[in-house]
Symmetry: none
Subunit: 224 residues, 2 copies
DNA sequence: TTTTTTTGTCATATTATTGCCATAATTCAA
DNA sequence: TTGAATTATGGCAATAATATGACAAAAAAA
């Protein structure tokens, strides 16, 4: 879990950014001005800073310069669209990236992911482990005992739904609606066929499934 | 039983959301546009609102603003993927969460659960614990010492009746009438067979039942 | 385009569940 | 202790559901 400091005077924006980053498994702290930010930085350690340029008190650039005297922690700056030339000045002072307001929170999260990944290796949370199975939702791959399992994309969708709801019985329709889309045209018995194909790839003995089990009259469960 | 208002103009989506929420023990009402929603809200009380952004007539944001003038009921908004910047505007107007279309209904249910739990405390009483046994009436599963017990649906019905009336002697007919229906065709001695099958799955030593005991001349009890 | 892979459908084989019974084992009271 | 009553158990058959193999259609790759 990486720690992120958000320096932003508008509580509305601060809250949204925090919400999104938290959802992406980051631990956030918000500072509503530069002084508070610098104080927090003196006492705690963070993995990345999101820094608004326009703030009352000391502005973002001053804060940036001060931080850079002692640390090269990644800093993403938030700036208004008009101030294009700020970019240059910002970069030269050591900001790592810019996001122009108004921004999409998802976009911001994506950039944060990039930095965190660059510094700390693989980004977390796209990779989940369930027993011998490791699912990488970004790469859309599944490994069993460290061996990549060759799945088609439909097969991947089906197993991943079952894995993510492990030990929960899912009906064919729930699987379809979650793995594919609400307006899937196909027959719900197609799931049987997917299950057959998946079993042949993940089970030691597809005739006696250990993981992907049938619930007669109900659906399927991934037991782990 | 918590009440949820679904505001969505597409009947297909509305129906499916309703189906999933109902299965999770929520009482749903659907409104096909903002006007109807506001009318319903004036007359009834709900515990949570699911609100589509894109609707004919008044759009979701307008509805959101109107609701927020008088109420802080949790609101989850449904929005199309392209409209990312809507998120910002939505959050600042007081939506509690966003779900992007096309969404997984299971995912939506999970988020609803989170809010309902946060506000009303403990999650719905679908899960009950009796000694080492945990029964999930929504999933229709029973665990013993955290291990899922593989029961057929008839077996589940029988054990769950006995568990819910633990330490109470039930006659075969009481079991039949509660577990199945009043017009069960079968012979009441079938219960003996169910008991046999259940014991083999839940008892350490089915020959000397510790939990599911026989009351000679009367019926069966689940001792816990 | 052609070729290959993936996906969807179907008919048929296989299996699971349920209800039923015959027989064995147990209980309880005379 | 005995035997009548009651319950336990194993197995069978009917039914319903699932598994599977084969193939066609669709999609993706070459």
């Amino acid at each position: 879990m990486h720690k992120i400091l958000i320096v932003e005077d508008e509580p509305a924006i601060s809250r949204i950014v925090e919400k999104y980053l938290s959802k992406s498994n980051y631990e956030c702290t918000a500072a509503r001005d530069g002084f508070i930010a610098l104080e927090l930085l003196a006492k705690n350690s963070y993995d990345l800073i999101i820094l608004d340029v326009m703030m009352p008190g000391i502005d973002g650039f001053r804060v940036l310069e001060t931080i850079r005297e002692t640390s090269d922690i990644p800093i993403i700056m938030l700036t208004a669209r008009e101030l294009e030339e700020d970019r240059l000045s910002g970069f030269s002072k050591g900001a790592d990236d810019y996001v122009v307001k108004p921004f999409s929170p998802l976009e911001l999260v994506k950039r944060v992911d990039v930095f965190i990944k660059r510094i700390y290796g693989v980004d977390e949370d796209t990779i989940k482990t369930y027993g011998p199975f490791v699912i990488d939702s970004k790469e859309k791959t599944i490994k069993k005992n460290n061996e990549l399992i060759d799945l088609t994309s439909a097969e991947y969708s089906v197993v991943s739904v079952l894995l993510e709801h492990k030990n929960q019985i899912l009906t064919r329709n729930q699987i379809i609606e979650t793995a594919f889309s609400l307006d899937y045209e196909g027959y719900d018995r197609n799931i049987d066929t997917y299950i057959k194909r998946i079993r042949s790839k993940i089970e030691d003995d597809p005739k006696k499934p250990k993981y992907l089990q049938t619930k007669y009259g109900a659906g399927y469960v991934f037991i782990i």
